[in-house]
């Protein structure tokens, strides 16, 4: 009877479409049209998986550089919060030959579920010890992960505890396959493996999840200068709800939950993935909403507009040992993004119409570390073309000779060269904004006696500037 009725409706819909085409007159949508909806069952695991793929557990890559351990997953008929069975996860030690951590997803076996009627993923969890599970969530399907949600650092008790992971905006989840996601290692147990159990895993309508407080850029208001073509990504995306327990539960939410806005699309545009491109001169503010609630945090971009091409070097190649320039062959290759602990710097290799430049933003300290030392004995000067992104740009360049041992040695307390290292420090400031300036730094001071093992350029402060044509030359 039910099938018959469905067929009938389809027939009517087809027929009405036919009539519409035949008469080809304008008409509104038929009241009879009903959009397909997907399975709205919220259960994921009760005493057995509910409507999941035959694989049930789909592990992270067990090969690869950081192999996941697919062996530690199963069900346990001796442990249950309710009923007769639970999910059992054995978290391996980091040196386990089968893989040093465990994680993966559960996928709906069908086309996905309609989760719009729920407001949270809930489950009961208990551990063999009071460890912390790194990440749990849903919306990860190993394809687009479009509506991925992750809650971090779930504290285990040795008794059952209910976990509530709020859905940032249920109205988005009309067809979701990613039912569950977890990732667990032994960071909280000093490398000792442990077991945890999960039971009564389901999406629920709790009704007592409220006071949404979404954020982008982790709630910070960030100001940054830029030029046309520079791209930024909206990061630090979270949604926080106040739970019935009074706890504010924050989850990491995928960009697709947010609506992003640029206050001036002639300065920068932002797409639905939170990717920002600077397109013109001026100021714009990137903000976001989640389910019509304004997110805290913003990115305020001050664009200088088109970045001019850096000046063409006047020196001949024979007199140059180049570090970074499209005009010369590199005398030595360099690490342009060294990982200095505590560095806040963002470095972008920016293809400025074929003349690559280095864009530094929010620099406290970073450097250009040469892969091999450079004998600068015959060179007298270092040239750097500088485009300041702020009026107040002031960046100190420290030309470092690393000495015979060819090791970069820095006193961690003073920041001064240590051991057999010496340097020459030069503050670049007072430059005219909106144009390139060629800054020439003489290799004097301590470098007069020692510049046969030039090893690095350390860059301190700024904090926002662009470099090009970095080369040593002979006057």
């Amino acid at each position: 009877m039910k099938n018959y009725k469905n067929i009938n409706i389809r027939f009517i819909v087809l027929l009405s479409l036919g009539i519409a085409i035949i008469s080809s007159c304008e008409r509104d949508f038929s009241d009879d049209v009903q959009f397909a909806t997907f399975n709205n069952n919220g259960d994921i695991f009760t005493d057995a998986p509910v409507g999941l793929t035959d694989e049930f557990f789909d592990s992270f890559d067990p090969a690869g550089p950081n192999p996941a351990n697919p062996e530690g997953f199963g069900t346990d008929d001796n442990v249950a919060f309710m009923g007769t069975s639970s999910i059992r996860i054995d978290v391996p030690a980091p040196d386990d030959p089968d893989g040093g951590f465990i994680g993966g997803i559960f996928l709906d076996r069908g086309d996905g579920r309609d989760l719009t009627g729920f407001d949270a993923l809930t489950f009961y969890i208990k551990g063999s010890t009071t460890a912390t599970v790194g990440e749990v969530g849903f919306g990860t399907d190993f394809e687009e992960n479009k509506f991925a949600v992750i809650a971090q650092n779930i504290r285990l008790s040795t008794d059952w505890r209910k976990i509530v992971i709020p859905i940032p905006d249920p109205s988005k989840l009309v067809q979701e396959r990613g039912m569950f996601f977890f990732s667990a290692g032994t960071q909280s147990t000093g490398g000792f493996g442990y077991t945890f159990w999960i039971d009564e895993l389901r999406f629920e309508k709790l009704g007592n999840i409220a006071q949404p407080s979404p954020a982008i850029f982790s709630g910070q208001d960030i100001s940054i200068p830029a030029v046309n073509g520079i791209e930024f990504l909206v990061t630090g995306l979270t949604q926080t709800f106040n739970l019935a327990s009074g706890i504010n539960q924050t989850v990491i939410a995928a960009p697709a939950y947010f609506d992003f806005t640029s206050s001036d699309n002639s300065v920068a545009i932002v797409n639905e993935s939170g990717e920002i491109v600077v397109v013109g001169a001026g100021d714009t503010s990137i903000t976001a909403q989640l389910a019509n609630v304004a997110a805290s945090g913003s990115l305020n971009i001050s664009s200088n507009g088109v970045l001019p091409t850096a000046p063409l070097p006047a020196e001949s190649a024979a007199n140059v040992s180049s570090i970074f320039s499209n005009e010369f062959t590199n005398a030595v290759e360099s690490n342009l993004e060294p990982t200095f602990g505590g560095s806040t710097t963002s470095i972008q290799l920016f293809p400025n119409n074929g003349d690559e430049v280095l864009v530094y933003t929010n620099n406290n300290f970073t450097g250009i570390v040469f892969n091999n030392t450079l004998d600068g004995t015959s060179r007298t000067t270092l040239n750097i073309d500088v485009y300041p992104l702020d009026e107040s740009t002031a960046v100190e360049v420290q030309i470092r000779d690393v000495g015979a041992n060819q090791v970069l040695e820095t006193n961690i307390f003073t920041g001064l060269p240590d051991g057999d290292d010496v340097d020459r420090r030069f503050l670049i400031n007072g430059l005219t904004p909106g144009q390139w300036t060629s800054v020439e730094i003489p290799l004097d001071g301590d470098l007069v006696a020692q510049r046969n093992n030039l090893g690095a350029l350390i860059l301190a402060g700024g904090p926002n500037f662009i470099f090009d044509n970095i080369y040593f030359f002979t006057e």
């Binding site: 309508k205 009704g207 007592n208 409220a210 006071q211 407080s213 106040n242 019935a244 009074g246």
Partner: protein
Amino acid sequence: MIMKYIQIKTIQSLALTCLVAIAMSVISGCETDETQTVATFTNLVLDENFDTEGAPNAELWSFDIGTGVDGWGNQELQYYTDRPENVQIQNGVLLITAREESFEGSDYTSARLITKDKFEQQYGRFEARIRLPFGQGIWPAFWMLGADIDENPWPGAGEIDIMEYRGQEPSILVGSIHGPGYNGGDAISKEFTLENDRFDTGFHIFGIEWGPDFINFYVDDVLYNQLTPEDVEEETDGEGVWVFNKPFFILMNLAVGGTFVGSPNEETQFPQTMIVDYVRVYEN
């Protein structure tokens, strides 16, 4: 304590219920059986709808100002003012707002309204429709004190807490009575949990029906407690005294911190506002 969970009609249809109830019998208000009808007070004697913008009606409401003694006896952290920043009528509702600010030596400000010497009544139905604030350390209350409190100090004067609530427990309402032998942390209280909902996302009606030797506590259409002199006797092993056969006045306030709720923490958002749609009192 006798606990009862008796469904009563929705507040919106109370008037009808009351008419029926009146038609059926003269109400003594003393029924304690499971099938009682509780909407027994029907004569509206106070109908405060907060319809006039600005400060509350001075003929009905006064303010407690300052920090009282020891934070109003509870180590509360706020300084009560009558400034519009803390108490104001806007768009037909009363806003009592707790703010985090340095003021007269306190870290928070808020407001407390009282009807002492302006509206005092013995027995009746007292109710208010309120949307509550939330967050650790937030403590709103709609309550009553014995009108003889100046001559008969607390707890002798008696206290009826129609609504108290901890901002960190947004689904739980607490209704209490205090008197000699049962007060402060030993008050006779009962919690009511709003299932699948919470008190800070919409308006709820908090009320009592109070008659000779009984106080019924209800929220929305649910009667969740009835207290009688027998309960006081049971709870206090005969030490407590029923002090609720005399006039009381009304208080509404939004406290911050204190012994009942604990201090706010870094996650508590300010300002927090208790929104009162109306206060109504009925008598026989």
